[in-house]
Amino acid sequence: MTTHIAEGYNFAYLDERTKKMIRRALLKAVAIPGHQVPFGSREMPLAYGWGTGGIQVTAAVIGRDDVLKVIDQGSDDTTNAVNIRQFFTRTTGVRTTTRTREATLIQTRHRIPETPLVAGQVLVYQVPQPEPLYKLEPRRAETTKLHGAGEYGLMNVKLYEDLAQWGRIDESYEYPVKVDDRYVMSPSPIPSFDNPKMHRMPALQLFGAGREKRLYAIPPYTDVQSLDFEDHPFRIEPHGHACERCGDTASFLDEVAGTDGQVHWTCSDTDWCADRVDQGHAHG
């Protein structure tokens, strides 16, 4: 696609005053890890639920020297990731990459890259529902009070009931975490497989929920604990398959129904997988 910067629009689409408003909200979010900060979310030229929060955060923090990576489901080539990457190419002209290591700014939906992120990188999550308690208490006027008082009894009872009924916690994604031992936070709909990557991550993690008009953040090296009980600690269960491209058994795998009637497994993180293939790994 030809890349020319869209005429008549400010760098990164939003006007500077709006960016400043968002950055102020982000500073507050970083200062209070895991706390949801209301912000004057703008109408974006992308549908609500498709990453309007993420692109507002990215637009507010992106600079001309940034190298941007956009992933959806771990892949740079899913249609919505392509669309968002093109949007920023058109409105900023910044360099984009699919390589996790090369990126300074990564916007993601539903995954954390397998390649460990490093200090100086920023990970922006698209968040459909920032309120971790919404299924238990839909009224935001009430959940605000519960967070304020650190009153998470509802959530503990929910997790306990899962254990009592199923013997396991019925949250395979969007598994709630506690940040810096204070706020219960939604990690966005990443698989619980990815939750441990948030703990003491050297990169800055920013979360944007456009429709719900909330931002939150986890500063680098912050404690992030998945909610659990002493006698039922949080754990990730191995899926027991290997990637058919790179042979990895430890990364998160997509399950693909093949035309041959067989089920195939490949890395969800396409950059991670390509990297391993380049290094000579292959399915055994």
């Binding site: 004057g40 109408e43 609500y48 489901q73 899913t78 395979s172 698989p191 899926h239």
Partner: protein
Amino acid sequence: MYIAVKGGERAIEASRQLLAAARRGDVHVPALQAEQIEQQLGLLVGRVMAEASLYDPRLAALAIRQACGDAIEAAFLLRAYRTTLPRFAYSEPVDTDRMRVARRVSAIFKDLPGGQLLGPTFDYTQRLLELGALANGSLTADAAAGNAPPEHVPNALAQLAREGLVEPCLPSEGDPDPPDITRDPPVYPLPRTGWLQTLARADEGWVLGMGYSTQRGYAHTHPFAGDLRSGQVAVELVPDELDFPIEIGEIELTECQMVNQFVGSAEVAPVFTRGHGLVFGRGERKAIAMSLVDRALRAGEFGEDASSPAQHQEFALPQGDSVEASGFVQHLKLPHYVTFESELQMIRKLREDVHARAAKAAEGDLE
């Protein structure tokens, strides 16, 4: 083995081209001009402007054409444009008593100052399809008969308000500086100024359904359409350089002042109360429904039992935003492979647990 991991970019490009072709339709049929939409589909233009919170009939018409006539998609296009516009100033409150009314009816008095003026309405059309016009193509309209619209039509509730039978029309808490719901994140409970803004740009179907629910037993409000009017209203603002308002133009508005019987409570003496609806264009259906919902949402103010959806702000308001709802409902078609894979694994494990327990129980039975 082949698993597609590339091709998103090319697929998107092809999809855009297909959409352009679908939008144009048969090229032997003349292309629609935005001006035709503006002139001949005025109610749709009004609806799109209302749900976009942007009064610009020409751009709304352009958006409608670009959206293949989908009202919500058109409102979305217009909102995405609106967000880039700077705010020059805030207007003075519009005075609907000074509306140049094209239509004004009151259901509570047979006749009243300013009179009953039907104006252009579907109400008495008998709804027979114009099959003849389909055959000969063109529509004609005779020059409308009638007098020039009156310049000042006092509100039908004014006299009752003077007698104290209808609550006075007082500025809500927070006036004259209401929150701007398109700039300030909502913090519930919203003040009335906030919920009226939310309803004014809410999906017409949602507001209609919520209003209708109050007529079917979910928070009955004993409504009477006191004053229903539509027409042109002057917009005025006071520029920094002047200390008096100047008129900058006119907008078409429809307003409904609903009168609601109220028998009084421990806090408030019996009095007729009000519900208010105000929308861009000739959105009469929405203005009426909005006034029902507005009154229902005032339950707390009158010490009424809030037991129905229309009385609960956090139910009646945020779910009614057409662009937000449309985006989030439709985001379900985006890939969810990762979350679904996580769920697959969870369900498999839960089933293994259940089967293991069943097998164990069966062994026990055999023993």
